[in-house]
């Protein structure tokens, strides 16, 4: 508070050696900040807005959610209503995406499929947060033997292909009346939190050595508070980026599993089922595979663009 070395000009005098007077030693003033308050997130939003692709991706995802929720409700057709007089219609005003081999409106089915895809995405994101973040955080925070054991479990699970898990589950739940979508959810639940656990572990390992984590310890914060209030919020950037890149992977996995007949099955329409049905008639009626395929690609692009944009916006090393 004392010993300030700043110098001031005497009023109205040109600066020469004699015109300097020392500033008062202790002005008794409190320290001030003039600048506008900016937070980490407002800064990140400002940066992501400059990334056009990420903004486009963001709006496509929003549109996707709106279509998934509202689309099937306002559509005059239902995803399972058959109209055997109008099979294999080409796209018209009545059926913008045409109709399939049973005369079902393809557009309604694609919109319904987006519900399944987004449900898969949401389940994947939730599991990533609930299991992946907590697991990786605990593993890194406690370190040593705990870390060794927890990460070896992750390594083992990593080694099992998703496809094998789904096939095993299908055999296990066969004729038990379990919705095949549950198989997909369990398979995604078992595998998709693994990269997240690894990424969070890496982040927490470096964060826990930072002085603010030590400071939290010296003020008597218990372990769970240090982990969930101090360490994980500081790893939020990489966590969000990982989630946005994991979601499209999970959506694609569901589409792929349904395509090869291990996921949801008729009459429920998922993008994978629609693409699979469409491929059978690809020579005569290519539009049947075109629209679900477009929907899948568009979603992949949107999430990946947003994920890339978020990574650039949240990475402190790229901050401007």
């Amino acid at each position: 508070m004392a010993a300030q070395t700043a110098w001031q000009f005497k009023e109205g005098v040109a600066p020469d050696a004699g015109s300097f007077v020392p500033a008062p030693k202790d002005s008794g003033e409190l320290q001030q900040i003039a600048g506008r308050s900016t937070t980490y997130w407002s800064d990140a939003i400002r940066r992501i807005r400059r990334n056009k692709l990420a903004v486009v991706g963001f709006w496509i995802i929003i549109a996707l959610f709106v279509v998934a929720i509202v689309g099937p409700m306002v559509s005059p057709y239902s995803y399972e209503d058959q109209d055997l007089d109008n099979t294999f219609q080409s796209p018209t005003l009545r059926h913008p995406f045409g109709t399939d081999q049973l005369g079902r409106d393809q557009m309604t089915r694609v919109m319904y499929g987006s519900r399944i895809s987004l449900a898969v995405g949401i389940v994947c994101a939730a599991l990533n947060f609930l299991i992946g973040v907590t697991y990786g955080g605990i593993s890194a925070y406690f370190g040593g033997r705990v870390d060794d054991i927890m990460m070896r479990i992750v390594d083992i699970l990593y080694g099992i292909p998703t496809l094998i898990i789904v096939i095993l589950l299908t055999v296990l739940f066969k004729d038990k009346g379990v919705n095949p979508l549950v198989n997909v959810f369990i398979a995604i639940g078992l595998t998709y939190w693994l990269p997240m656990a690894r990424i969070v572990r890496g982040e927490i390992l470096s964060l826990k050595e930072r002085e603010f984590a030590l400071a939290a310890k010296t003020i008597g914060a218990p372990n769970n508070r240090i982990l969930f209030r101090h360490l994980i919020p500081n790893a939020m950037g990489p966590i969000i980026v990982t989630v946005t890149l994991e979601i499209p992977a999970a959506i694609f996995t569901e589409a792929f599993l349904s395509y090869i007949g291990l996921g949801v099955s008729a009459p429920v329409a998922s993008w994978g089922v629609l693409a699979s049905d469409g491929t059978e008639a690809i020579r005569s009626f290519p539009y049947l595979v075109l629209f679900p395929a477009l929907a899948i690609s568009l979603t992949m692009f949107a999430f990946n663009f947003l994920g890339d944009g978020l990574r650039d916006a949240l990475d402190p090393r790229l901050r401007q």
Binding site: S37, F212, A215, T218, I219, G220, P233
Partner: protein, 324 residues
Amino acid sequence: MDTILKVEHLKKYFAVNVGGPFARHMASLKAVDDVSFEVGRGETVGLVGETGCGKTTVGRTIVGLYAPTAGTITYCDENLCALTREAMRKVRSKLQMIFQDPYASLNPRMTVGNIVEEPMDIFSIGTMAERRERVQELLRTVGLNPEHINRFPHEFSGGQRQRIGIARALAMNPEFIVADEPISALDVSIQAQIVNMLEDLQQNLGLTYLFIAHDLAMVKHISDRVIVLYLGKIVEVDESKDIYKHPLHPYTKALLSAVPIPDPRIEMQRQRIVLKGDLPSPVNPPSGCHFRTRCPIAQPICAEQEPELRDMGSGHMVSCHFAS
């Protein structure tokens, strides 16, 4: 003067792998090796030494961030090393720490208000409104505008952040503060502000400081007594007004000769003692006297026998065979 903190035969060894990336061969790094000292209530004790001598480890062990390998730390007649985790957590409110790097020691995702309030929140002291009021009072105590309570740490300058760190340390009305190089990351004019503020706080709140630093001029200014560490061991202890005039240990002499003097004429004339070589590895310290490899007056006895910390009268302790 009654003793507030007593450190006896404190040892802290870290396990390190010296076998390279593929061979696992563990050795112990002796960061602190048999250190004993006392701190009286209301006193400021300076802990100096070059990088890697164990200053920070001593400080962190005292506030319980590290568990000591051996030895005891007695705080107000309570052995901290024997306390359970829960009991230790409670004692910690009286035993606080100010950190070296004001940029790293504040959680970047929390507002200043939340940072300063956190200790009170952890121990559920007062209502939310009372805590807020206390936070504003603390901010005013450390010379910050209480209106900035909702700002984030990155909006403050280094000196201001260090003030926030000090406000957090003061939140639980501590008696003893370990200041771990609180000013080394700040520029000189700000250093003076912070040190003067620490002195004011000491007078007003009756604090005791363990002041860790490598800036000897600053330590002389703030400390009543100075402890000089070299490679995890105490080499000299004395009143700070005496040690600067009559250093006895060759290491202390060399350290003091490196302090710049703010007068170019004197600065040009004086003799510096330049130590040869680097700090030996604490994994494999020299036999006998740890300082002998760089000591200008080393004799064969130094390699064979480890010098004891001897009392040279009026509390001046030194560990050298040839000090007199």
